[in-house]
């Protein structure tokens, strides 16, 4: 039973990553490539968060609701790392979009196969 859960949860996260990579590799539209990068990012964040989950665990917050009770808390370190990763992902998306805007200004198209100077 736990095996099925392990494979399905991690599988879903990895599938999200793969969908993102697929979009990056096959799409011709530069905006769609940036969206693919964001999807890949989300998949990786999902995987990290899933690794930190503990069965029956609560959020790692010592609120009055859990005071004095013997509760299991999920791992806070992956959550802190994902917080960082989300911000970095935002920065990557912003810079990528600005590069797309620059390419559009120069070539008047965002189709990657119409930008001739990128060919080799």
């Amino acid at each position: 039973m736990n095996q099925i859960l392990t494979y399905s949860v991690y599988g879903a996260a990895i599938l999200t990553m793969l969908i993102g990579i697929f979009a990056i590799l096959t799409k011709k539209n530069l905006i769609k490539i940036v969206i693919g990068m964001s999807i890949m990012d989300s998949g990786f964040n999902l995987l990290l968060i899933a690794l930190g989950y503990i069965k029956g665990g609560t959020a790692p917050i010592f609120s009055p609701a859990v005071e004095g009770k013997d509760v299991i808390m999920v791992d806070p370190v992956p959550q802190a790392l994902v917080l960082t990763a989300i911000v970095i992902g935002f920065g990557v998306t912003a810079v990528a979009l600005s590069l797309v805007i620059r390419l559009y200004r120069k070539h008047n198209t965002i189709k990657i196969d119409e930008i001739k100077t990128l060919r080799w």
Partner: protein, 239 residues
């Protein structure tokens, strides 16, 4: 054909990734370092939110780097986009998107103060409830985005954005440096204030102060990025 090759390669990659992670059983307790954090966060720092304690105190230097990356992204965007526009592209210097409807404009005006207050609440209470500087800053930036998409003539004054950003960053670094001078172990970003009691607004010492600075910085940076992206045609004209 090309897609088939890509899909098969991705499936191989996915298989090996899944095979690697399947060894780490889902939902199993494998905390080692986290146990230390979870123990020290409420006892030593009096911070209710363990994630905040890790982000700002235990891994505070990491957060400083993270804020720097965000700053670099905002600056890099400015450098990439605010170059002199070549003359022959013939872009219209006006924003071409149509004016938003009266409903959107009125709702934007109504929601904007509420979004500001929510954002401020989220980053001030970062050590007590889920949330913190990054989340609160992002919420505040969405408020500005709402105004940017509802009013075509709305522009963020980049001068003030830069000032807020620089001052907030300076506050963060100064608090870190004060930790060297005043902290009991003389290390960077160390807590030097009274930690207070758990689940009170004044608990956690410098964590709340650092997160307020981070909130202002992130809000200013994200607002700057959004304004650069939305008003790109106008700003592209700078010679």
């Amino acid at each position: 054909m090309r897609k088939l090759v890509i899909i098969s390669l991705l499936l191989v990659l996915g298989y090996y990734l899944l095979d690697t992670f399947a060894g780490a059983e889902f939902g199993k307790d494998r905390k080692v370092l986290s146990n230390y954090y979870l123990e020290k966060s409420p006892s030593e720092l009096q911070v209710a939110n363990a994630v905040t304690a890790i982000v700002v105190n235990f891994r505070g230097f990491d957060t400083l780097g993270e804020v720097t990356v965000l700053f670099l992204a905002a600056t890099g965007m400015g450098t990439i986009l605010l170059r002199r526009r070549s003359k022959h592209t013939g872009l219209n210097p006006q924003r071409t998107s149509p004016e938003a409807s009266k409903i959107v404009q009125a709702a934007g005006k109504l929601l904007f103060p509420a979004i500001m207050i929510l954002g401020a609440y989220v980053f001030i209470h970062g050590h007590l409830t889920p949330g913190g500087g990054f989340q609160g800053g992002a919420i505040i930036a969405t408020g500005f985005l709402l105004l940017l998409i509802s009013y075509r003539q709305f522009k963020v004054e980049h001068k003030y954005v830069t000032w807020i950003e620089s001052l907030a960053g300076l506050t963060f670094v100064s608090i870190g440096l004060l930790g060297i001078v005043l902290g009991p172990h003389n290390s960077f970003l160390e807590n030097f204030l009274n930690v207070g009691t758990l689940n009170e607004l004044t608990s956690g010492g410098v964590i709340a102060l650092v997160y307020i600075a981070v909130g202002f910085k992130v809000a200013a940076e994200l607002t700057g990025i959004l304004d650069t992206l939305v008003n790109i045609r106008e700003t592209g004209d700078i010679d």
